[in-house]
Symmetry: C2
Subunit: 700 residues, 2 copies
């Protein structure tokens, strides 16, 4: 029966559809409008046909594996998620021998789209523990731990004991001690007070046999700062605790319950001297300590994590922007013409503005992520092969590491924040159905947001990057060369640059606009720094005083970075049949970014107040252009329904059918009385009032 409410009925090709039956037809209609080959867009996104083939193969391997089936995850309690994660790691382990490094990373990233918990539970071992051994251990040490089973996770599971209850971001302030005892050629690892309990340690509660423990090296009463020590936590064969080890489960978290994060206390735990990772700092059997030229090289393992998180921001964002945009193409709500079908929500200009700039942002993140990955690969190749005695090579490696640290810090911060925002905005754009557990937003948000905190708190990263930008500018004023990423600080022409009638659709003009505001913010902050230090503040005090400015500099510089990376990649590799559609997307991203921060452009004088209306009109214009091809932009991500894992985002657009089926599959309708009917509900509904028969007192 067709509803009497005419606005909920649609006629297509002479056939009547209603609220329930129309959506797949509507999405097919959107696909028919796409003017570019999806395949070429996918290849652009992933850097060519070869990569796409590899990704598609890995995706198929993941989604066909029955152990990796995530369709019931949204209803799993913590205990079940934790057990399931181990079963999934076991299922994945069959691929380890044959995967190249690139395949292994991609497999893990793709898996992370739907199962961030399992991915990171394994990643703590492979990325953090093994990263520490590889990055900070000597070749002999690396080989030793591989022989022990570390590389294959056989009779061995590593974790990464850095953070303490009282110390997170400030690694140099950690309190756990490693005291060298020359008599026995051992270190004693100790937790000096409860505040120094290792905390958040993924793998400690259930799985880990060993940990890479960050502790202060103490030799002959002297504190040499924080180094890394391999400490055994559990007996390998029985999984019982080693003497002096106390550990426990830190329990419920906001998300990522699949990971068995725990706490560890060390009470005078003895380990052989050889368990200190000695690629850089070394302690000899006579207690002689030699230190590396720059201690931060030991933290190199963390930068890899950051670079991966930029790409992860893309991998996760594409999933949720696809869900929200597909749903927007089929959901109808309200209408402007009585008696006519209601309007698809994608056709509301404000809905376009809520989602399409985020689609463009998702593309931009991929471009910047790929750039950073290349930079990272080059730098680690160098670090792997370096002879630590070669001062020149070491110096060069440190410069590269610093450059990578700066750009990856800002990108990590703003892409992880943006991904959190995309999940959240996309959820809101799906209305109530975004709040259902089965459409994935809630779980994904809860799982994701820790990325904004760990491996460098985003705010701390931004402040540190802002400091670096001001230092670069100060250096430049004193004649030092500028790194390539801040080359625009030398462009004197920017000071006078204004729009002055030029075309705001021209990428060259748009890039110049961003360079001008980035330059303006950094120069102004540098002027202020000079003024404050001349006024008597120490550089540290001046930098503290300029915190807001430092954050702003990092924000603007990073947005400029994303804008530039997007256009550069289009120029370098976009085929002709997708190029105009990519320019539309990049222009939308850039102009929307300008609109969001219009104060900057007015303040720096690149735009005049009257230009703002034009920016708004152009954002509207590009929203319409992008909306027209929206099914193509999202299909180009190439995510199957397994990776979408949200019935309102399925490829066929049959949203209500899939959603209703999912809800019923997970919650089969049986008894109208809840399990607690007799125990709790019935006694409440049928409670009787005490009567009002109160003892009367004789009050004479």
């Amino acid at each position: 029966m067709i509803s009497p409410n005419l606005t909920a009925n649609v006629e297509i090709d002479g056939k009547q559809y209603n609220t329930f039956t129309e959506p797949p037809k509507a999405l097919a209609g959107e696909r028919a409008k796409v003017k570019f080959p999806i395949k070429d867009m996918t290849e652009f996104l992933h850097g060519g046909e070869e990569n796409v083939t590899m990704i598609e193969r890995l995706m198929t391997e993941l989604e066909r594996d029955p152990v990796l089936n995530v369709s019931g995850d949204y209803d799993m309690p913590k205990e079940q998620l934790r057990e399931t994660a181990v079963a999934r790691i076991a299922a994945l382990s069959g691929h380890w021998k044959k995967d190249t490094e690139k395949e292994a990373l991609l497999r893990s990233q793709l898996h992370g789209i739907v199962d961030m918990g399992t991915r990171i539970r394994l990643g703590v071992h492979t990325g953090l523990f093994m990263g520490a051994i590889r990055g900070s251990g000597t070749k002999e040490q690396y080989d030793y731990w591989v022989r022990k089973g570390a590389a294959d996770v056989k009779g061995f599971y590593g974790c990464f004991a850095m953070t303490e209850l009282g110390h997170g971001s400030n690694v140099a302030g950690l309190e756990t001690t490693a005291t060298y005892i020359q008599d026995t050629d051992e270190f004693i690892i100790n937790t000096p007070n409860t505040g120094a309990t290792k905390w958040w340690i993924g793998g400690a509660a259930h799985s880990a046999t060993h940990t890479a423990c960050f502790a202060r090296l103490l030799v002959d009463g002297k504190d040499y700062g924080v180094k890394i020590f391999v400490v055994q936590l559990r007996d390998v064969s029985s999984h019982s605790l080693m003497p002096g080890i106390a550990l426990g489960d830190i329990g419920k978290k906001m998300g990522r319950d699949a990971i068995d994060n725990g706490w560890i206390q060390f009470t005078n735990v003895r380990i052989p001297r050889q368990n200190m990772l000695m690629k850089y700092a070394k302690v000899s059997s006579t207690g002689k300590v030699s230190q590396p030229p720059l201690a931060q090289l030991t933290y190199g393992a963390l930068i890899g994590g950051r670079v991966t998180m930029i790409a992860d921001s893309f991998f996760v964002s594409q999933r949720f922007i696809t869900i929200a945009l597909r749903y927007a193409c089929v959901r109808r709500q309200f209408g402007t013409t009585p008696g006519q079908p209601e309007t698809k929500i994608i056709d509301y200009p404000y809905h376009q503005r809520r989602l399409l700039p985020l689609l463009a942002f998702t593309y931009a993140m991929k471009m910047a992520a790929d750039q950073s990955q290349i930079q990272y690969d080059q730098t680690t190749d160098l670090l792997q092969t370096i002879d630590p005695k070669d001062k020149g090579a070491l110096g060069k490696a440190i410069v590269d590491l610093k450059e990578l640290f700066a750009s990856s810090a800002g990108l990590k911060a703003f892409t992880t924040w943006t991904c959190a925002n995309i999940i959240d905005q996309c959820r809101q754009a799906c209305g109530g159905h975004g709040y259902s557990g089965y459409n994935g937003f809630g779980q994904a948000y809860a799982d994701w947001v820790v990325q904004c905190t760990w491996e460098g708190d985003n705010n701390v990263l931004c402040l540190s990057m802002g400091r670096g930008l001001i230092q670069s500018c100060l250096g430049h004023r004193k004649g030092k060369p500028l790194g390539s990423s801040v080359g625009y600080l030398a462009n004197k022409g920017l000071e006078q640059a204004t729009l002055s009638g030029r075309d705001l659709k021209d990428p060259k003009v748009l890039i110049e606009a961003w360079e001008k505001v980035a330059n303006g913010a950094i120069q102004r902050a540098t002027d202020k720094f000079v003024e404050l230090t001349k006024g008597g503040l120490s550089p540290d005090q001046a930098f503290e005083e300029l915190s807001q400015q430092r954050f702003q500099c990092a924000k603007i510089h990073t947005r400029k970075h994303l804008v530039t990376a997007f256009y550069e990649r289009i120029n370098a590799s976009a085929k002709a049949d997708v190029k105009p559609y990519l320019i539309n997307l990049a222009n939308l991203f850039t102009l929307w970014s300008i609109e969001e921060d219009s104060g900057l452009f007015l303040r720096e004088g690149f735009l005049q107040p009257k230009d703002i209306d034009q920016v708004t009109e152009l954002v509207n214009h590009y929203c319409k252009e992008v909306r027209d091809q929206v099914a193509g932009y999202t299909d180009a991500f190439g995510l199957s329904d397994w990776f979408i894992n949200a019935p309102i985002g399925n490829y066929d657009g049959d949203v209500y059918k899939h959603y209703f089926a999912k809800v019923n599959q997970q919650n089969p309708a049986q008894n109208p009385r809840p399990p607690y009917y007799e125990s709790t509900l019935r006694p409440f509904l049928f409670r009787e009032d005490e009567d009002d028969d109160i003892c009367e007192l004789d009050e004479e």
Copy 2:
């Protein structure tokens, strides 16, 4: 043993403290600095001593009730939360008879600070179901359902079946039908297609016996639009389903698992004509339909929810800003001077900027919430007592309702968004510990954010408010009188107003600044509207085209509203000993708001580019002022540890002790082997490779 890491050790009054032992001492030190009487600040916040006494009594009643104990909630799976919620409703029911309306609302709001699930599970009955009966039923109907047990929730549990799978915000587009059958004087309630399944219905899955069902009234083939019908879902005595009722559990949600949301399908369910709520629209036994002058009066029940949500935004925000600020007062991380104790994070200017404007925002929300509640009480008093035949009185009520609708829409949107943002920013400001389940942020965020979607999606509310603001401006240009909230649109002087050397610390100047930008945005949008309609667009098309502008107008007008409400309340009721501290807070809120949206002030010419530095400096200045008294501002909320329910936010500041204890209480350390050691972990760790003995083929 004191750590060898000197920067983690602190000397106070000649005694040594370390990371673990110092925090309570540090928070006590902050309290000693407070210069105003906390009691007076609390009374200012809650509107006087009498209210504070009532709140404190209600809080004590809540926190002493063992059934309401929330300390284990963070570890409860959905099933247990749902049962617990019913037990808690039963415990609360003992108060219903004696509570005044004001006490009942406050009890529920206070309970909602820590248990939003139970609060809303009950609120669906008391607020939505009973609200519908009260607001849309006749006196006889109300009395009838009260006799049936509705008021006491005895042998009766109501729910509210408005939303459908395919229709949320657009109530007028709902598809469920109610067809009048004159022969039997009944309505037949029917779900015409699966898309019209009632969805999200809180209480339907487990508890409800009856529902207030929104359905299209069909009489003699004519569609009279959506009305409300009471439909019985379950047999009262057996809790079995009534004939024609199909319902199920919609299962896992992002949050609020304590609520048994469900779906309902009606298959030709017959109800007596008397079950249609007929305060306004009526159907006679001969099938004669009389309609009310304005249909929106039937949705009056929803506005109450909105007003409550403004206050809820305050109630919840105060909890999380307290946690984050107390933690910031005791957490040390990094330091600027080697050998000196690390810096308390509250002393970092950027940390101050992250949190203190949100503290000020929390105060501002309370001022606006109180204003709205008064307006709402007055309007509902009028609606309750009105004679529906009195056209004049009805007209006045509709005007009041519209004014309230407009202001409550913007406030609901921006306060619920702000509360979500406060929970999230405060979580991030607590670093990793913010991600622990036991500090409450994750659960609160997941529970909270649905407030941004239901009872009017925030974006839809803003667009509707923006339309109203432009319409007011258009009306004013045609000589119609302006409502008091938009009176500034008549102030011609605003066009020329600029800062021009006046003091940015003067509230009068700050209010003028906000009025100027609100006026500027609305006038400009109105100009554009006139231009578009002259150019041939219909008003609806023009409004669509101006979506971005409408949103901006709502945003700026609402911020102005909050700013004004804050200063007005200070002037009206702040005692002298707290007044300067409140002015600091209000100035921080206002100047930070200007800084965030500096583009507006530049564009409208109230500020010049050079003024922006001054705004930034003043924000820094007020951050320092407010930081100094921060323990006082947060203690003034008067939340006990029961309401904080987060060990890192406890009153005594002994953060690590409470947190470590909580984690161990909820996860007692026992077996180092997880429950799935034998089934899953051991087989993985000790798996054996298949050997490489491959069958050799004879390939000659």
